[in-house]
Amino acid sequence: MATKASRSAARLMMAPAVILLMGWMLVPLVLTVFFSFKKYLPLRGDRWQNGLDWVGFDNYVRFVSSSSFWPAVQTTLIIVLGVLIITVSLGVLLALLLDQPMWGQGIVRILVIAPFFVMPTVSALVWKNMFMDPNNGLFAHLWQFFGAEPVSWLSEASLPSIILIVSWQWLPFATLILLTAIQSLDSEQLEAAEMDGAPILSRFGHIVLPHLGRAITIVILIQTIFLLSVFAEIFVTTGGAFGSRTLTYLIFQRVLESQNVGLGSAGGVYAIILANIVAIFLMRIVGKNLDT
């Protein structure tokens, strides 16, 4: 029973979190939108204190018509889709496997989940140097062992390499969430189906997969949001070279490397819109699940 006094107390206690997040969201957002309509080149002496020239939608048009825009969109899509396909399909299989009776289940689960706790810069560098290096990497040794020519992975096959690294990091997340969902599956239903003689594939298709549907959707949406802003893995492996420049990386380069803030901010606004489209779907699912 909430009294009036406790209601106003509640509002007061919520205030710090709400105000901080409001500020964190609005201030940079307003500035980004503001800069996106301005010519702002700090390296050429533009200072926000002296006022900036208004250029209308120039930056928006230039960002989209630049020759690096569509390749960046394509790269982003390939990486996001590639990682999603790998992590979700392998995640389902791994979750099913880990749900089976076995010896040392706890330890296996820890082995599978461990990559998620490795910081992105470490996993990117370890893969880049110790596995994918064309001279001393383990893959090079392995290729030579089979008499094949070693591949310089990150320059000749930059996207598959980055997809491999990022998938390795996110597979544990997908597996863990799908495993949690599988464990909530009513095992009696499965046993009944098994006794009725339903073959394993149809049991999977008619009982397990529908049950996992929601968890899979959530994995896809949450991962998409994180994958759209993959950064460190590219920063330390290719630095955006060899066709591995994603939208996020392109904006980063525009803003901090070439310091074309107006142009980069216009790109930032595009990225925000894109992320919000994904977010709306996620919020709907989460919201449905929320009973206050």
């Binding site: 919520m14 964190w24 759209l228 460190a232 930032g268």
Partner: protein
């Protein structure tokens, strides 16, 4: 009703699962092993797996040459500080939403979640500019604030789902007995919520420790945490595998250990309670 499991089936699943588990874990294992090799053994052809002269030399070299302890300390301060600050701000908010819900509670929760969706790169320059103007660039204070803000929605959400599981009647009973709001939170709610708060702290410490966008872009030399320290190995220095491995092992070891304890919280924290 447990399903009958034949030993043969169990052995089969055990073998497959262990094989896959070891393949997935292998890069980490290989990094740890390499950190104990000499540089020559680290790149020897064919690679040596276990039979080499184990040495601790790399660890001392990394520490001496790069002042590893300073980066470690920065990581501890930044991850720990942002988590604690976030929890201090989030506990009252989560409490009020869980126990004094209003018609807008759901909207506020979803709105908080939506701030988490803002792509960092979209607001990189404004934050960078604000940091320069306020003298926060390359300071631990600045990073504590930013990481607290990006994790605050997750902290509020996790605490909210934990608090929701505490029966409200207990709090009402305390209120009837004349407990003030402060006493109610301090002596009744907090003891019951400690496991939930601990899980929240654990997961958010891990997330902050591994954060690698803001830490790379807002630090240079002074406040750089381990993420940025390791990134500096992307130069030719990274070709010293044994030292790279030693530095990497030191950067991930604390979190791997903490991570083992936080598997369950991971699901709840990162799906915003949508999967339990």
């Amino acid at each position: 009703m447990a399903r009958a499991v034949t030993p043969r089936r169990k052995a089969l699943f055990t073998m497959i699962a262990w094989a896959i588990g070891l393949v997935i874990f292998f890069p980490i294992l290989w990094t740890i092993l390499t950190s104990f090799k000499t540089e020559a053994q680290a790149i020897s052809d064919p690679p040596v797996f276990l039979f080499f002269d184990w040495t601790l030399e790399n660890y001392s070299v990394v520490q001496e040459r790069s002042n590893y302890m300073r980066f470690l300390w920065n990581s501890v301060i930044i991850a720990g500080g942002s988590t604690l600050l976030g929890v201090m701000i989030a506990v009252p908010a989560a409490w009020s939403m869980a126990f004094v819900p209003s018609t807008r509670t759901k909207d506020i929760l979803l709105w908080m979640l939506s701030t988490k969706m803002l792509p960092a790169v979209g607001v990189l320059y404004p934050i960078y500019l604000i940091f320069i103007e306020l003298g926060l660039l390359d300071t631990r204070t600045g990073l504590v604030i930013v990481l607290m803000l990006i994790n605050l929605p997750i902290i509020v959400w996790m605490l909210y789902t934990y608090f929701k599981e505490i029966p409200g009647e207990i709090l009402e009973a305390a209120r009837m007995d004349g407990a003030t709001l402060k006493e109610e939170i301090l002596y009744v709610l907090t003891p019951m919520a400690i496991p939930g708060i601990a899980s929240t702290v654990l997961l958010n410490f891990i997330l902050a420790w591994n954060e690698a966008f803001w830490t790379l872009n807002l630090t240079a030399a002074k406040a750089a945490p381990l993420t940025a320290f390791i990134a500096s190995y992307s130069s030719p220095e990274g070709l010293f595998y044994a030292k790279l491995s030693a530095a990497s092992t030191m950067a991930i070891a604390p979190i791997l250990i903490l991570g083992w304890f936080s598997q369950k919280q991971l699901v709840r924290g990162l799906t915003f309670g949508a999967v339990k």
